[in-house]
């Protein structure tokens, strides 16, 4: 059983937290990952910052800009993962765009993921049609490519889910990442479609910031993914952010556990 499978097997409903690596520094990122795990985060998504993150709202865009300005690079993030793996077995999933992987060399990138202990990768601008750009390189290195399913996916849901690895990332709303007051999409109906073909769990992300939303989304799926709300705390508190992030993640992770009951 790999680390992602183990997380879902152990917790049933998993809280997944996202932060941008290198925001405000890689040292703080390391502390944040360990803190989030302690607070109940079952999987940590680490953003490799990109100059032009077209799927991100303004909060994560700003985090990417800060991280890049601080000198964060893909190689330094791999070093961070290697460091983290000495202290934790929490599943780590990268979120980045096609270009940083393609330019690094997909084979070299996924080999490095395997070597340092990265469990999965989410690539928003690699849709089902272009999956061959990554899968021939990710599979031999046992790195899961986590696909996204959107409210507009309709007839595409089953084929995407059928080849999903790790988990299926269910996008709750149209648009980019960011906090939303209301999520109006019928997630239950989408989850039902996903489960017809998926061999892996599914978790809902985009727009979730309150414990109520997290509990509700985890109740209809296998987990809740929260990014912008955590990144906002990092933005506000910088180096002091771990203790604030702990409190927030604890509350959110507890709400997700509630959904498992």
């Amino acid at each position: 059983m790999n680390r992602i499978e183990a997380a879902f097997a152990k917790q049933k409903k998993v809280f997944i937290g996202f932060i941008t690596a290198g925001d405000p520094s890689l040292a703080v990122t390391k502390e944040l990952v360990l803190t989030m795990e302690k607070a109940g985060c079952g999987i940590v998504e680490l953003g490799i910052p990109f100059s032009d993150p077209v799927a991100e709202g303004i909060v994560v865009q700003r985090a990417d800009t800060r991280a890049l300005a601080a000198g964060t690079t893909t190689d330094k993030i791999f070093d961070l993962v290697a460091e983290l793996r000495k202290e934790t077995q929490v599943p780590l999933v990268f979120l980045t765009y096609a270009n940083p992987i393609y330019t690094y060399g997909a084979d070299r990138f996924f080999a490095k993921c395997e070597e340092t202990g990265v469990d999965g990768v989410i690539i928003p601008d690699i849709p089902y049609e272009e999956r061959e750009e990554m899968l021939p390189y990710s599979r031999p290195h046992h790195v899961a490519v986590v696909p996204l399913v959107a409210p507009t996916s309709r007839d595409r849901i089953q084929k995407i889910s059928a080849v999903a690895e790790g988990y299926v990332y269910l996008v709750s709303s149209l648009g980019v990442t960011g906090v939303r007051e209301n999520i109006t999409t019928d997630m239950e109906a989408i989850v039902k479609e996903v489960r017809k073909t998926a061999k892996v769990p599914c978790a809902v992300g985009f727009g979730i910031s309150t414990p109520e939303q997290a509990k509700k989304m985890a109740a209809v799926s296998d987990g809740a993914i929260v990014g912008s709300a955590i990144v906002k705390i990092v933005e506000a508190h910088g180096e002091d952010s771990p203790r604030y992030v702990y409190d927030y993640v604890k509350e959110m992770a507890d709400a997700v556990k509630e959904a498992a009951k």
Partner: protein
């Protein structure tokens, strides 16, 4: 290999949320591209609204002054709205109408594509929102106001470098939020399939007209066709009909800003490397980690870190030669054409003129060169004045 490929370039690298929107667009485009009624309506708009065919003008004074080959100018600057951009916009807006869309969005660099889209939207009764980098809004204030006069909303994009690529990023983000009722009118032969093919098809009339007009005037094909290249829509439009004629040399001129060896340039073929960005695989200006470079050119329309995938392929197979021209060379050409022929070119098109000024004197008098004059320079007068140190208030 997936759809929409030019060699290894092209593809559909988009967030899942947008995939059904581009597939729907692809289906509609496949349906209408050869539909006689659609084409008849488009060509009626070209003729009666956009002022096509644009003139092919023999630049006699320039020819004599440079003392080499015979030079013709394809006068896309005389189109309605002042640039080739209207050709593509009329095609896409007509398609949007057929698809039942009532709202269009667009990105713009110099503002020419934004003005063309705002114009088409006014004509077809559609709501129009244009995304424009904040830096470009500043450089092209007149075009911002022009779009507003046409009834469009212009949204300045502050993120990144505040230029064309950031405007594309924002248009993609906004499209993700409203893909179900909004048609994205992309301004160049770039982005995910079907845009590069669709934009080329709506622009290829430029080359088709050059062929027919030169046949009438000279009874033969041109020896050289020159065009400036940012994303590459005016160039692909001018080149496409000649790709199958190996004796016609095709030259794309990129914006080299302060020089190809200076970090401040936008010369993608000279300095770029393979990447995946804005929905396509192509060449991009980027660092070793795939971070897109902040590019620079005096021309807001060429200030883009990538190039359309078909150009990338035409470069790979050696069918088109891509060369750089600097800000200084473009400004010199801008002044030269204004004084020599009484034609003020867009600073984008001035890049093509700049290369022609180097090449023409080296060619024999019996050779024929066509420069695609993609737009007019009224919008650039203030920026050129600033460049030349003239204190001018609009």
């Amino acid at each position: 290999m997936t759809k929409g490929r030019y060699g290894i370039h092209g593809g559909q690298y988009l967030p899942e949320t947008l995939m059904n929107a581009v597939l729907e667009l692809e289906e509609a485009y496949e349906h209408y591209r050869n539909d006689p009624d659609f084409l008849a309506e488009l060509h009626r708009l070209y003729r009666e609204y956009a002022n096509r065919p644009s003139l092919l003008y023999y630049a006699k004074k320039m020819t004599e002054d440079l003392g080499g080959c015979k030079i013709y100018l394809k006068r896309e600057d005389l189109n309605h709205t002042g640039a080739h951009k209207i050709n593509n916009v009329l095609g896409q807006i007509l398609l949007a109408k057929k698809m039942g869309k009532k709202r269009v969005i667009a990105e713009t660099g110099a503002g020419q594509h934004g003005v063309a889209t705002a114009t088409g939207a006014a004509l077809m009764n559609m709501e129009c929102v244009v995304y424009m980098g904040s830096e470009d809004c500043e450089r092209q204030k007149l075009n911002v106001f022009r779009m507003q006069l046409l009834g469009a909303t212009v949204v300045p994009v502050e993120s990144g470098t505040g230029t064309l690529k950031d405007a594309v990023n924002e248009a993609l983000r906004v499209w993700t939020a409203r893909c179900e009722d909004t048609f994205y009118v992309l301004g160049s032969c770039m982005g995910p399939h079907p845009y590069p093919a669709m934009v080329r098809d709506f622009q290829k009339i430029i080359g088709e007209e050059i062929r027919a007009q030169l046949q009438e005037k000279e009874g033969r094909l041109p020896d050289y066709v020159l065009a400036c290249v940012g994303g590459g829509s005016n160039a692909i439009g001018a080149f496409y009909d000649f790709i199958k004629e190996p004796e016609v040399k095709l030259i794309g001129v990129e914006a080299a800003g302060l020089g190809v060896d200076d970090p401040k340039n936008a010369a993608t073929i000279s300095n770029g490397s393979l990447g995946i960005f804005h929905g396509m695989k192509s060449y991009f200006l980027q660092d070793e980690y795939g971070q897109i470079a902040p590019v620079y050119s005096i021309s807001a329309g060429l200030d883009y870190p990538g190039i359309g995938p078909e150009h990338a392929y035409l470069h790979d197979i050696g069918r088109v030669q891509y060369v750089p021209a600097t800000d200084a060379e473009a400004v010199e050409a801008f002044n030269y054409l204004s004084k020599t022929e009484g034609i003020i070119p867009a600073v984008e098109s001035a890049h093509a003129v700049a290369h022609a000024m180097k090449l023409a004197p080296t060619l024999p008098k019996d050779k024929i060169m066509v420069i695609n004059l993609s737009g007019r320079g009224d919008k650039d007068v203030a920026a050129i004045a600033r460049y030349m140190g003239v204190d001018l208030h609009e």
